[in-house]
């Protein structure tokens, strides 16, 4: 019964006008009934609702958005949804958006500046309710420019402008905990695998350097080697690091992906993970606990991060949130 028309059919949807006619009232009355706005006779209201149901009426989102000069769309900008870090964040964003009656449009930028701008422009062209996301290739000035035109919440980035909204994770504390853990395990010769992507993701590196200094480990700037934040990138970076500095027995990775890569590298180098070379990752991906061996890491609550991104966006009170992180000791350190 729901199946009837074929491909070429594409019947027209009922409009508010149709509902009005069906209910024997004016357009406006229908609008009022549907959005239960101002005062309207309960009886009329009922009649309209029934007529709408009968016609299978669904409001046209674009017409509504056009009139209201604003849609119920929330843009979600990530560098790559296939990177296991983002899906959980995306789910948090989605659930919060859904709870707020919003739809989410997804953008993958691969951290490329042009595509980050394109995503922002697209969001603007949709008169979106707002945008949340990870911008690694766009300057803060440029972001501020967009923030002036559309509600924008930036994720995981230190901003100087106090009027901009952001939700980040406590990288400083997490990094410090990682270094402390490594030191406590007896590792004093540390090194770091840093991400080579993006102009604005140096918080983990600077925190690492600062923590090492505080722990009396000296200036380890030389021991930070960069690479793509992927498993392969981690393997390459770790290989480079351990080749150049064989004395290193403790590695702090930008994220779990690089951490996994480091595990591979250490094994390939004939060293025992943990015993000969400890590894601490960052993020705590779903998979990390089931790896061979289970990865010691700093947990970020990705789902909550996503939720807070949207909550902050909709709250509209400029604020900068910093979410707590937790060290999760497992087998690699």
């Amino acid at each position: 019964m729901t199946s009837s028309g074929r491909q070429p059919a594409r019947p027209k949807r009922a409009t508010i006008e149709d509902v009005a006619r069906e209910a024997g009232v004016g357009r406006q009355t229908v609008s009022r009934a549907l959005n239960d706005q101002a005062e309207i006779a309960p009886e009329t209201r009922q009649r309209v609702l029934e007529a709408a149901a009968r016609l299978g009426y669904r409001p046209n989102a674009m017409a509504k958005g056009m009139r209201m000069q604003r849609s119920d769309v929330i843009g979600l900008v990530v560098s790559d949804i296939a990177n296991p870090f983002y899906p959980a964040v995306a789910r948090g964003v989605y659930d919060q958006a859904e709870a707020s009656g919003c739809s989410v449009v997804l953008y993958n930028t691969d951290a490329e500046p042009v595509r980050e701008r394109a995503a922002l422009e697209d969001v603007l062209s949709r008169s979106a309710r707002g945008v949340v996301g990870f911008f690694y290739g766009t300057s803060e000035a440029a972001l501020a420019g967009y923030a002036a035109v559309v509600p924008l919440v930036v994720a995981d980035r230190l901003l100087t402008d106090p009027d901009m909204m952001s939700v980040s994770n406590d990288f400083a504390a997490g990094t410090r905990a990682a270094v402390a853990h490594l030191v406590q395990r007896g590792h004093t010769e540390l090194g770091m695998l840093d991400s080579s992507v993006g102009v604005a993701v140096d918080e983990r590196r600077t925190s690492f350097l600062a923590a090492c200094r505080d722990f009396g480990l000296g200036d380890l700037s030389e021991r930070v080697v960069q690479g793509p934040p992927s498993i392969e990138g981690g393997t390459a970076a770790a290989t480079a690091l351990l080749s150049a500095y064989p004395q290193v027995t403790g590695v702090f990775a930008f994220n779990d992906l690089m951490g996994v890569g480091a595990v591979q590298a250490v094994a390939a180098l004939g060293r025992r993970v943990a015993a000969d070379c400890a590894i601490v990752g960052f993020d705590d991906l779903e998979m990390s606990a089931y790896l061979d061996p289970p990865l010691t890491t700093v947990r970020i609550d990705k789902y909550v991060h996503g939720q807070m991104l949207v909550k902050t966006l909709l709250a509209q009170e400029p604020q900068r949130l910093v979410l707590p992180v937790t060290l999760i000791p497992r087998a690699t350190a």
Copy 2:
């Protein structure tokens, strides 16, 4: 320079009218220049383009969509983007959509019928270009009803209606390969961990049963135990299966997540994975190769799946594609 206005500002965007005025031409001329449509004097065109650039003009997607009675949105419906199976598909969908000038709106349904319908309705209300996705809780009749109103490509589902578009993976072949592999490894007492989610995902189960019959393993219907398609679900299901049928030495899991859960269960039961009980998963998640131990599985090319979903959608010629899968032997079987 891009930074100027503050939160309250929200300056109005330039409209096509503004560009027309700026360029000293009519609205329509601007429209033509921007969409490089019909014949227009190259010189005028140039002038318009410059004016548009000067004003930072960006077309209003909703106004355009309203007029055209169709937007450039493609809906992507998944049960849970946080499930590691979907992100790669989503990326394929996104890349193909982006290449076709479309934006993608994401929907998470948790395989709940109401939410699958809600996603479809939302897509309709946006006059979307089309929808692609995984529908586990909606009847084919209902899907056909939507397909009559909006281009729809159904993923991983056997459809009877030849007019409906679908892109699936070759579960039959994959399952057969898995069973063959298990048999070849000397396992003749098999069991399966099936998903308990959704009304329409029994292809893996029926294929498994058929394959077992073909291999002379008898009717194993009793040995199919269901559970949520997650790691925990796999652990529970495997525990139940192995407790009820201790003679089972070969387990075929609905997906890698359940496979990982099975690995945990086997270990917890004091049995050696592979030697005492072999396990084959399905999907080949990114993580599966790095697990402890690496999981033997049937690979689905998730990215290509996503791409084909959109290609099929935009091609608009009703077709049903079945993508090839590959058995990836690793340590668990």
